[in-house]
Amino acid sequence: MTRSRGATMHVILNTYTRTSRTGLLLLCLGLLGGCAGTQSRNTDPVGDPWEGYNRKMHAFNMGIDKVARPVAVGYDRITPDPLQRGIGNFFRNLAYPVTLGNQILQGKFVAGIESTARFLVNSTVGLLGFFDVATKAGLPQYDEDFGQTMAKWGWDDSRYFVLPLLGPSTVRDGLGFSFFGYYNPVSWYAREEHVYWPMALDLLQIRASLLPQDKALYEAYDPYLFLRDAWLQNRAYLIHDGEPPSPDYEDYLDEVED
């Protein structure tokens, strides 16, 4: 799920910026400018120095979601679960070039071979990726993108940066998406052939798969913070290939005792 969302981010970012790069930039700058010096609070000056801008972009994205969510709910209602799983698998399988490229850049050659085997098995036996037979056969699914590669290369900490439409990101990961998204077949197809429905379907499926999690987000005290912290923690988990450092609980308590 994570990877397919990443893949789609590449997709939209590329298509989107291509068609309205200037408008997008203006929007970002406008929001950045609008809040400069007037931030009421900053919950994490180190990791999220642009909180004022980020909160505005988050609100903008939530506004867009008011339209996107009902569409996803309708789609979810008429599309049986197995079909949804198949569609999700299909698009995730297509993210293979991005995954492989980044595995090579990180020197993960064995994993790269596994991903290749996965892609071949799922594309054939799995009927163009619709069925994820590889996972059942014990070929793990890896999740790599250029943001993670740059983190491995030493860009450990990057400030949080909410992207228009795409949501949570960092400067590093936003750049990563725009570089490697170019090689995602779905975005390629949209760009070269001007056929957009596969991308729309990918997005729709991703939004639908997130529906069960909406409640937790809406129930959060501060949905912006909830999304930011959960996203950043999950991102660290991906960068460290599932072995991020444990939270520093002692430090949480030190604050109590100091």
Binding site: M1, T2, R5, R41, T43, H58, A59, M62, G63, K66, R85, D132, T135, K136, Q141, L210, P212, Q213, K215, A216, L217, Y218, E219, A220, Y221, D222, P223, Y224, L225, F226, L227, D229, A230, W231, Q233, N234, A236, Y237, L238, G242, P244, S246, P247, Y249, E250, Y252, L253, E255, V256, D258
Partner: protein
């Protein structure tokens, strides 16, 4: 984006532990996790239809099985951070209770949703048992073959080992709530936070 800590956490927590709370429990963390997970899954499989008809029975089951092995008070202190200094013992306890109620309710809901779909694998412990923090790694297998990693963080108390954090795909329950609740307590005071937790109040950001 499997962001929902709670969405996934339910699933994970569902498989957490239950044990009779008679005297100090001598069982070790990994053993606690696998024994009680088996127990909860058994009752789910045998009484699934009943629970579906009466979700509150499910909550009772989770409450009885889960609470004895959680150290919600410690979680609450971690979440409150330095704000604990301005809170009374009773307030910390009230916050811990309110949080565990929310957790149990969500967890029971999630269990019903995922029933029969999961299978738990408790990974071998790495290194020595650490009394201040021992992380038990588990993987929940979904029907499509995917694994969701769910870790339980235990520490040793006078009553035996207790879990105080759940980490689902790298997302820590304690850390995420800490970052939300601390500023909220600063802004509105601990009693207001407890009350809002108790009401299960929805906060829709886009309406602000």
């Amino acid at each position: 984006m499997r962001l929902s800590l709670l969405g996934g956490g339910l699933l994970g927590l569902a498989l957490c532990v239950s044990c009779p709370a008679q005297g100090a429990d001598l069982r070790e963390p990994a053993q606690l996790v696998s024994e009680t997970a088996g127990k909860i899954l058994d009752s789910l499989n045998s009484r699934g239809a009943e629970f579906e008809a009466q979700p509150e029975l499910m909550e009772d089951l989770v409450r009885n099985d889960l609470l004895p092995v959680l150290d919600v008070h410690y979680s609450a202190r971690l979440i409150l951070g330095r704000e604990v200094r301005s809170a009374s013992e009773a307030q910390v306890k009230a916050l811990a209770d309110a949080m565990s109620n929310v957790l149990i309710e969500r967890y029971a809901r999630g269990l019903l949703q995922y029933r029969n779909r999961e299978q738990l694998e408790v990974m071998p412990l790495r290194g020595e048992l650490n009394e201040r923090m021992t992380r038990v790694r588990t993987r929940v297998r979904m029907t499509n073959g995917n694994h969701i990693p769910v870790d339980y963080v235990f520490h040793k108390t006078d009553d035996g080992w207790k879990a105080f954090d759940v980490i689902v795909e790298g997302i820590s329950y304690v850390t995420t709530y800490r970052n939300q609740i601390m500023p909220e307590v600063q802004a509105t005071g601990i009693d207001a936070v407890i009350a809002r937790l108790g009401r299960g109040e929805l906060l829709l950001n886009e309406q602000k």
